[in-house]
Subunit: 108 residues, 2 copies
Amino acid sequence: MPKRYSCPVELTVDVVGGRWRTVILARLKEGVHRYGELRRLTPGISEKMLTQRLRELEADGLVIRRDHGTVPPHVDYDLTDEGRTLIPVLQALYDWGVARAARTGEPL
Amino acid sequence: MPKRYSCPVELTVDVVGGRWRTVILARLKEGVHRYGELRRLTPGISEKMLTQRLRELEADGLVIRRDHGTVPPHVDYDLTDEGRTLIPVLQALYDWGVARAARTGEPL
DNA sequence: TTGGGCACGCACCATTATGTGCGTACTTGC
DNA sequence: GCAAGTACGCACATAATGGTGCGTGCCCAA
């Protein structure tokens, strides 16, 4: 049975919620990145988490994984068209984070 | 030691992330609500969760709790000015949810 | 020859988030 | 008199999330 949402916000949170998904998407909105680049750009994430979240984002159709089939491996990730529809959301989250940090004096 | 963020999005997610916080905030952006109203407007949430999240949002300065001190109890919740700065974020989440539902055929 | 980078998979464990069910002290409606 | 509503608190249990450490097969630099 399909899950019912009482509010569109719930649906969105279901897709981009969680500790890492939005952070990863925010990186990818700046452009294509390799696995190792994402890992370095996201301090604190474990390799397991990064792989796991990327797989989920792929399954949700927000991200494409491109394996160049070379050896040593070269894989990169990009937003799909569907993923790009999230850009306004990611931008809003980004902007609020900046403003909030300014108000509270938290470091960035 | 203060927590470090590698990206402003991380900070935002820390504040409004999780299963319920955004949903509650989205309700409050429509106006003041009593505890019982929020409970009815948010199917699936337990009373414990609702109370817990409201306390956190209060502690983060996004929501005010007003206890009218009457008996039987009458308490209502509203966004603070700080909370109102989140409205563009909440709107972006809402809009994307609507558009996503339309694309995937998910019910609302 | 030893070590590191690449992009993971897998097994196991810890922490956090969330849910469930019950109690409270009082009032109003039936 | 009895149930229901109000706005919770508390104890317990499960589910989701996250971390650790190891192994893979190949290549390149020191």
